[in-house]
Subunit: 344 residues, 4 copies
């Protein structure tokens, strides 16, 4: 069985495993105050083109999302996001557990626009009883989105400009950031991400690391006491060095980008095979997640050899599913799948 | 510089590093549903002598504590614990962040007794305005305690009997459980722990693993929907396999016990050196944490070569400090320290 | 200026004011343990045809909603309700502030159906990753709804049957319950409400009292420790007697029903005037809230003499607005408004 | 039976009852935006000698405390207070339910000092692992305290100076403020209270009103969006006018002070009787709460005619109890009690 069901089916890049092995008996202080973390922070700041940014390492995506969001919002504020946003649908109400409402905006493709944010903001503040309604306090987006789509440079610039104007911090969830930056359709690079957001995170779990997410706080107003929030929410790893070592390795010799490109390339091969076969795509993704709509009998055949992720029923005889590639996906695995698709 | 400041200064046991390396490209499903986790669960159940226990893997201690506690308590209930309990002093209010008061009981040595619990309980329920006061809803202890002390079998039996009678679930924080079980002063083994608590966790972070804590839920009433709580609190690792692999290794060939014994043995060497030198001990610990009270000028000398942890000022010229050994501590490191102490 | 903007523009029924005056210097113990509260509880139990129900008095609607809901739900559960439900839109995220997501269901008229609940429930439990999603834990409805509409007996019976089957407690927000029970379109009486819900509240603030809501807990499983929850959430009035006196008066000589009927009758007069004038109605309400869609120039004229509540823009030249009657509305006020409408 | 058990045994001052009656059918908008509230705010600002202060009306003390405190603190911060502080012992963990730890300081008499605050603050910030500990974020005091004691002008000035220096907002719980201001031992007046705190509240529930507390926000930084917090926590009374009318009346013709003086005078009579009888006092209170230590057989006799509040067991045959007077206490009631005490 070959798994394409998600992008966390293997361990970590060999470079990371090697580095963990080599440093295993080096003694370091705890909680991210070690030299490996310092080195990783420096490399990430450089990659972001921002020497003033604060960089913190957390363990997982849900944890990172509720830690960042609860650090920003005042108790009566909520976070604007696409209705498909991870925080709205797949985190067991973690945001609400910190006391905040997720203010979901309609979205066909997983993205939201500056206009949507402005409209929501204006509607709130023009309501004479606005104090009876959750106040919009920040904006959350994911890039790539949960649907594999990408913000263009223009779209992100516009959204950020609106957020600045309305004083709503913009937080970008980069759980799959590498796959977005390296997409053939990408118009945003890492420096752009750092320029057009207030805070974002660079996903490790899904992009080459055993685990780990690097939060980059660009906006100075959001930096204060962030380590307290991490600790309170269980995100301060005792052996913080493990995160430092992993991100230091990912940001050495462009490893993060190379492995992301690999996954994207394989995903484009898969996409071509789906299109060639005549399968429509639920979302037009240029990243590592692909969403073909396939006849259910084709899917039944494929599932003898391949694991994929059911997305939604489209009609009586067709379903949309998700196939993921990742940094670890083997060329032969994709070739086998492509050829089995052709043979259906 | 040799670090004795805490018990998480190195990576993981070589056996674990090797196993992670070997399995790195095995594909598995996520979130702890993989075969490695299953195998680890089976071994832990066996070690506990309880085939019905639920076993869940989380990432860190603070996370485990607030996840378990918030899963048990009703909103108006609090958790009884020693005033020195980790949840009361070193978790940045993580318990309170889930809405619950920590009900701290006085404790000289880090332990609490069944009598203290009963007295608190009775005082609460005999108050005519008890509804104006936080209701005691469970009991939290750590074993070994934050002071390195141990519950005797009799003490734990008694505490548990009181808890059963009063219907207060008893939760044991075993962040350093191995060092407790393998102490020369131990009267409790793993099966006893599983017999005399409702839920407990087996610490991995401080005992041989890169990270990870194994929660063992013994009381069937506490099992329902626990995975929701883990996910909501950010503790459900995408690559749950990493936890499975680590605990499977620790519970193969008694590795967990062997490495714990190693640390305890070295700690006893240190303790002997402190006593021989005439240093009083702040707490009489038979586990991997030692708390000598030393002249400040001795400490100043030692800190040129060794890192230890400041605990408290005892008088104008003396301080209590903490030295920790762990699974990774080298014999030579302890020998060097002992000889430097003798030479002071 | 005559206010029709809401149903809490005046003080309380003269009968209540008189009783407060008469009892002002009677000494009573605090927190709802007095004889007036006991008497009121007995009368409410009788009105509900349920001698076992627990009755608690709280101060306001938002407070009552988050108190009841947070008492019922487990931390990872959410509450199903219509997207227009008060808890979803007009309580500043009070439910989320207690840690729970509001699971909004689409609703054209303010109501939800048993089928919607079942479908949501099934979708949740058939999701293989259901632990990543907020678990539906209870159902909230309002009767009358925020749109003035009413559940029929058949609809409520069906919804309750589904809730029982799926073990989801059903909570009915009766902020305007009197106006629902006394509507000419009503098919549900107070005993039905108590029969087909697990917990509900009888609104006082909008129906004759200075303030106050009477929570009736029918389901024995929801009764335990409820006074703790009230106290923790600030709802336990020191002079609880004030609530007892008010509800005792409202449930003496059918006062609650009489004053509700008065408001409904006046609302029907208004409705007739709107229809006669050719105004469409945004919702077809048979209770004290009426929602005509009127030309903006008509509204401009009316607002010189009358206050109403803006609801939504319908097109370039028309808006939907809300006119409320209440227990205190004077016949002459409605007559004046009707005649001014006719004259437009 | 005559009740001295607490200070909320009756309704409200006749002046308030009269005013509620007179205004009963005046129509007003809701939520504290009416003319009565405006008038009351103006009078309170004047009484405080601060025309810029924001004044908000809430319903009860517990509600006011958690609303103010949760509005000020960041999620990882706690509130410093005396171990006897109401928020620490008698609010069912309401502060913790908003996510914050109560940081209790030792206190023999119910008060805390600037030195204690500074010491706690310094200890926190000098801890190298301070991020693992709840950060002190504000200070809560009550005046009079729960023990009936009073801060002197010098003590409050000093405490406030420390708070300013350390940037910790100082919140004063004035549930019984009137009884403090009018005490024969008072050295603080209303203007002092407004000068030496950042925010405080003027208690109505225990001082002449049916219910209600007036929050006065002096520090401009604490004013923003406070109405959202009130609404979210269920404190925004629909008929806010009721609070406006009551406070407007209390601050007309010095009523608030006159009725407070009355209660204090009667309490001093009681105190004299206790002392004359040779009863020691648990706390030396010059306000409306008195805490004699009495032989249990004396108490048994008294309880046939009088209700008091049990405080604590002092020895085998003596108990400390609390007798309260209030604005409504009759001279004859005190005279009867005094004479019965003499006769014991």
């Amino acid at each position: 069985m070959i798994l394409f069901e998600c992008d966390y089916t293997e361990g970590a890049c060999p470079e990371i495993m090697k580095r963990l092995e080599e440093t295993n008996f080096v003694q370091t202080p705890g909680y991210g105050t070690d030299e490996f973390c310092e080195s990783a922070r420096a490399k990430i700041r450089k990659a972001c083109g921002n020497e003033q940014a604060d960089v913190h390492f957390l363990v997982g995506g849900t944890q990172t999302n509720f830690t960042v969001i609860s650090a920003i919002l005042r108790p009566y504020q909520g976070v604007l996001c696409a209705e498909t946003g991870h925080i709205n649908v797949h985190e067991t109400g973690a945001i609400e557990a910190t006391g905040h409402k997720v203010l979901a905006l309609p979205s066909g493709n997983g993205k939201i626009t500056g206009d949507q944010v402005r409209e929501y903001y204006n509607a709130h503040w023009s309501d004479v009883n606005h104090e009876h309604v959750v106040q919009p306090g920040m904006v959350y987006i994911s890039h790539p989105t949960e649907n594999g789509t990408l913000y263009s440079k223009e779209e992100l610039e516009d959204l950020y400009a609106v957020c600045r104007e309305l004083e709503l911090p913009l937080f970008l969830d980069g759980a799959r950031l590498g796959y977005g930056l390296m997409s053939e359709a990408a118009t945003l690079n890492m420096e752009d991400i750092a320029r057009y957001t207030d805070v974002f995170y660079i996903g490790g779990t899904k992009v080459g690391a055993l685990f780990g997410e690097a939060v980059v706080i660009v906006n100075p107003e959001l930096k204060k006491d962030f380590r307290y929030v991490i600790k309170q929410h269980g995100g301060m790893l005792a052996k913080g060095r493990l995160l430092g070592i992993q991100f230091d390795t990912l940001f050495t010799d462009e490893l993060y980008y190379k492995i992301s490109r690999h996954a994207d390339d394989l995903a484009m091969k898969l996409k071509a095979a789906f299109l060639k076969k005549g399968y429509p795509l639920l979302f037009d993704s240029f990243t590592n997640q692909q969403f073909p709509i396939m006849p259910d009998d084709h899917l039944d055949k494929l599932k003898e050899k391949y694991a994929y992720c059911f997305w939604e029923k489209v009609d009586e005889t067709h379903s949309a599913v998700r196939f993921c590639t990742c940094w670890a996906t083997k060329n032969e695995a994709v070739d086998a799948l492509v050829s089995d698709i052709e043979a259906l």
